[in-house]
């Protein structure tokens, strides 16, 4: 599933508050991509569509679309699990901002 960035909820005044601290939205507003200082990049030439990277991403920031695995960089924290678990070593870890 390719999650889209969500919206922040702003509680400006008392009337905006729920009765108790009950959630009003999910966390997809949170740009966890900013946590990353390394960026996983998939080499689709080598990729065999085994789905391993998708399976092991803890965010999840990898989604299946168009019969391939894709990284959602808005959420990818750059943990490197996909890099390390890809059986074909076809994901490389590049320095962020370079």
């Amino acid at each position: 599933m390719n999650f889209k960035p969500g919206k922040k909820v702003v509680l400006e005044k008392l009337a905006d508050y729920p009765l108790m601290p009950a959630s009003l939205a999910d966390m997809t507003h949170n740009f966890t991509g900013s946590w990353r200082n390394m960026r996983p990049v998939i080499d689709y030439d080598k990729c065999i569509n085994c789905g391993t990277c998708w399976k092991f991403c803890p965010e999840p920031a990898i989604y299946i679309e168009d019969n391939k695995v894709n990284v959602n960089y808005y959420f990818c924290k750059g943990c490197g699990i996909c890099v390390s678990e890809c059986p074909k070593k076809c994901i490389t870890f590049e320095e962020e901002g370079k």
Partner: protein, 186 residues
């Protein structure tokens, strides 16, 4: 009173840097508070720490909203965090970066004085941390001494010696090297 805000990432030693700086201030006979942002930040996430310095006892116990200076330990933060938020007019911004201050000045606007130090390179040179997570805090401290003028190298070195558990010498060297290689500090 001088108020400083440090920006880093969870797990990078930002709070330790603030603590060592504070130690140096105390050793110099000053008064100081050092404290982290009171949060639940996780490894990788942007974090913040504060140092408040004065020459008399500090009664103010609230947070710091308008720092005099900013220190940025991780250059990749600049993409996502507005590090100069609340920074006082004329405040200094010290960034760990290989870039020249002039290259950055634009980003921050004219009202702040930008300085840089390539703390990552220094840390890697001194074998502090790994390539994906270099430990830059002692290098940054050396740069702070030069840049912010709140303490001196003797005291910082003493504070580092007492405050880091391993590779003391390398850390001290990192600080020294950063002190001399600060850019934009004049």
């Amino acid at each position: 009173m001088i108020e400083i805000r440090l920006h880093g990432r969870g797990g990078q030693g930002t709070v330790v840097a603030s603590k060592i700086l504070a130690d140096a201030i105390v050793m110099g006979g000053g008064y100081v508070q050092a404290f982290p942002e009171f949060g639940v930040e996780r490894r990788g996430a942007p974090v913040v720490a504060y140092v408040r310095i004065d020459n008399k006892p500090i009664n103010l116990k609230s947070k710091i909203y308008q720092p005099d200076h900013i220190v940025v330990l991780d250059p990749t933060l600049l993409q996502s965090v507005n590090v100069t938020d609340g920074l006082k007019e004329g405040g200094k911004v010290l960034v760990n970066s290989e870039k020249e201050p002039s290259e950055m000045q634009e980003k921050f606007g004219k009202s702040f004085k930008v300085m840089t130090v390539d703390a990552t390179a220094i840390a890697l040179e001194k074998r502090l941390g790994s390539k994906t997570s270099p430990i830059v805090n002692t290098a940054i401290l050396g740069a702070i001494v030069k840049a912010l003028n709140v303490t001196n190298m003797d005291l910082i070195i003493k504070a580092i010696e007492e405050g880091v558990p391993l590779k003391v010498e390398e850390n001290v060297e990192a600080a020294k090297k950063a002190y001399t290689s600060l850019k934009g500090g004049e």
